[in-house]
Symmetry: C2
Subunit: 348 residues, 2 copies
Amino acid sequence: MSQIIEDNEVDIVIGALRSDLTTFMEEWRRIFSRFHLIVVKDPDLEENLQIPPGFDYHVYTKSDMDQILGSTTTAISFSGHSCRYFGYLVSRKKYIVSVDDDCIPARDDQGHLIDPVAQHISNLIHPATPFFFNTLYDPYRNGSDFVRGYPFSLRSGVNCVLSCGLWLNLADYDAPTQAVKPDERNHRYIDAVLTVPARAMMPVSGINIGFNREVMGPALFPGLRFSGEGKIRWETMEDIWCGMCAKVVCDHLGLGVKSGLPYVWRGDSGDALESVKREWEGVKLMEEVVPFFQSLRLPLTAITAEDCMSKIAVIVRERLAPLDPVFNKAADAMEEWLKLWETVGSDV
Amino acid sequence: MSQIIEDNEVDIVIGALRSDLTTFMEEWRRIFSRFHLIVVKDPDLEENLQIPPGFDYHVYTKSDMDQILGSTTTAISFSGHSCRYFGYLVSRKKYIVSVDDDCIPARDDQGHLIDPVAQHISNLIHPATPFFFNTLYDPYRNGSDFVRGYPFSLRSGVNCVLSCGLWLNLADYDAPTQAVKPDERNHRYIDAVLTVPARAMMPVSGINIGFNREVMGPALFPGLRFSGEGKIRWETMEDIWCGMCAKVVCDHLGLGVKSGLPYVWRGDSGDALESVKREWEGVKLMEEVVPFFQSLRLPLTAITAEDCMSKIAVIVRERLAPLDPVFNKAADAMEEWLKLWETVGSDV
């Protein structure tokens, strides 16, 4: 029913937006020390990174990006939170787990420190069940099963390729919501993992995810960026966009996406009001983006994530680009990413 | 954002499969004493019901059924767990909450006794969000909200008309699963409610539900029954069938279905092995039923649950009935139910 994943099949990818990673790394030491880490330095960050000893890591910087991208790439930017995608590109592992550098392992509802990497891996090695909803959540979990009425032919499930974790303390709200509720913190630990049903669209947050890089790598890229975008999560949209692409690809290919555990503890951030003042384009764009992806259907000839993304780029250019030039740039980024993925992948 | 439901807008419907309801009623006294109760006696049960004093209730028996059904009805049977549907028919309230007579209020993960009726009502008065998945579960719950990327135009949600609760102790498994794991009990209290996304099919269990009777009554009926069906939940299928109808109706009409809280504590039942020996037809039938409902699309002219159910009956007869005569009988039951609903409804 499930495979085993060796530690050396997993890369932990950290996008470093702050130079001093000491506290972050120490909080994760017990977990991260078992894995190879890819640390990608935000190309806008000038200071040297501070990383404590005792980890197996490789730091990638602006010069690595320049070397790989050359002068031809224009639509893809790895600045800010998008720097992590460079790590996805240069990894040679089957699986990636990635968390923001302001997140540390959370404690469960019993107060025990959890291992988010182990949970992502568990989500990825156990099947997903996108074609029929199981009311008792993950049927493969110890002590659970498929409920009455669940067709037996669907009980073997499908390959799970994307695991979306959640956040305690500061939840992943957008700037307007955060500004309306500056003091709200998430303290509810919901001890569940579920498969997001096929054809249900969802906002994938890049803060805390694990995925099968071999299968889904072509779909996880920094595609949608705003002109005035800063370094704060609630100003970004690139993960939401590529999450919608990834979900459509999974639905088309019969692969699974899970949401729920693991939680990370997310540290407090800046002033959301400042972000709201900048008039966040994301609010307006999602009104176009969601119906677009909901109605998107791919041809049967698309049988890999590469095929699917290539088709999606064409359709984005046809249907969304006329509404806003940012979508044309997103389609450019998708096509450039696919080329990069092929080039960098064949370098091995 | 949400209405208020008065206690006198709710009927509690209890299908009595056992004659002595004393323990059951005492366990629910604190909650049930606020509401009017409709107790429907299984027409196969011979002994008199024992109900302790102090409740506002009306008992319906076989003679009430005979009086309303007359001699014309043949496809609908109210025996066994299906007796509760007679209560749905004769109720004059807007909302119904119904639990099996082997279930008592559960305790939450803090050990506090919960109020399942209050939770069903809360699920029904707060909107549902079927068109986009919110990773933090119910966005209307205190301390939660819509996550980043959730379109603002979808944040007002839609009317929730069906609330499906869960079970601690004995989970609602089918006979084969129960037989394989005779000692497995569900002790995991997941403190969450979620909207089941549009177009995602699900197995609705009738054990512990609340619904808007005015809107959904025509879809909640005993339609699919097996020849050798006994009095045990894991041998029944009528709730799974009408739950699939209800979900298709909700998806078509833009209404919401929630799953999760409240839990009830479900007492132990008989020997699942005995049921498995009878060769449960449900296992085979679901293989046809699920793809059928997944591909079902209703015409835009269907604008009420009645319209939808009438169309579904026609399509069941066309596409499913040739596979097994039980589906023809289900279509008969659907059409008879719609007539009954109209007749009994106009009697008021």
